[in-house]
Amino acid sequence: MLVDQDVIRRAQSGDAAAFNELATAYRKRILGTVFRLIGRQEDVEDVAQEVFLRLYYSLDQLRTAEVFEPWLYRLTVNAAYDYLRKQRRQMESRMADLSEEQVVAADAAAGGKRALEEREKSQIRELVGTLLSHVSAEDRVLLTLKEVEGLSLKELEGIYQVNENALKVRLFRARQRVLKAFDTIRKQEQAVHTTPAAGGKT
């Protein structure tokens, strides 16, 4: 735990200073988790604030301070779901939204090692985002928590409150879908590299 259980108890009883301490201690971790779950840096702070807002108004429902972290993860997961669902609905309008890529392209144009690294990172984020778009928002979050955040099945059980076998089945299916999408993308890339450029010799 990043704070004493006493801080959590004080925050539960409505102590604003204790809640401030709690949010300050966990914000960086939540920002990281949210970033990995939603994959869009520009919306990370907004979603993380939503997590802490929900925490503030639901803290009285927390039975014991020991389960605070799984509780916080749960709120994070729910806020990420809501964001991803909303994002899916706005997919068409977001197709034109290339802000991150535009920024990266501008950086790359400016040259330098850092810009190149950032471009590579952006490509990875884009690839993983594409792969994860082949599964539901729920599976995307579950897969990210397991594979990227590195949570154990036991920890996931605590967050989702379902048994381990159900989680394993769900993870297996989600992995299969992602793997299938990965194969498709790789084949497309191979086809692009092996096919002689149509416009090159004409």
């Binding site: 401030n20 949010a23 300050t24 914000r27 960086k28 971790r29 920002l31 990281g32 988790t33 970033f35 990995r36 994959g39 840096q41 990370v44 702070e45 993380a48 604030q49 939503e50 802490f52 807002l53 503030y56 108004y57 590579e120 990172k121 952006s122 990875i124 984020r125 690839l127 993983v128 792969l131 594979e147 990227v148 297996f172 992995r175 299969q176 992602v178 793997l179 990965f182």
Partner: protein, 114 residues
């Protein structure tokens, strides 16, 4: 299974993704903005007691409804019984009700004179 033959195929990609998504530093406005959102979402002073009262009211209303249902049950039985009475019975009862006791007395006196 197919997935078991190639377990680490995506592992490298997940790892790369983890490195490509480091926890961003919170902006200086993170906490002030959070408190603004908390305050904006805070229910007004008169709504909160009303909400609490409403939460207590719902089970009370349910209990009263259930109690009334149980109380009204024999009554509804008698209504059902009444519905089984035939049309002729209803007509006969209606006719009987129309005949005032005074008519019976007058009728009896007329019969006596004859």
């Amino acid at each position: 299974m197919r997935d078991q033959d190639r377990p680490d195929e995506l592992a490298g990609l997940w790892e790369a993704y983890r490195l490509a998504t480091p926890a961003p530093d919170p902006s200086v406005n993170f906490m002030p903005e959070l408190w603004l959102r908390i305050d904006a979402a805070r229910p007004t002073s008169w709504v909160l007691p009303l909400t609490r009262w409403a939460y207590r009211l719902v089970p009370a209303v349910l209990a009263v409804t259930l109690a009334l249902g149980i109380f009204a049950w024999p009554g509804s039985q008698s209504i059902a019984d009444n519905l089984q009475v035939g049309y002729v019975d209803v007509l006969a009862a209606d006719l009987l009700a129309d005949q005032h006791p005074a008519h019976w007395v007058a009728g009896a006196e007329e019969g006596g004179l004859r």
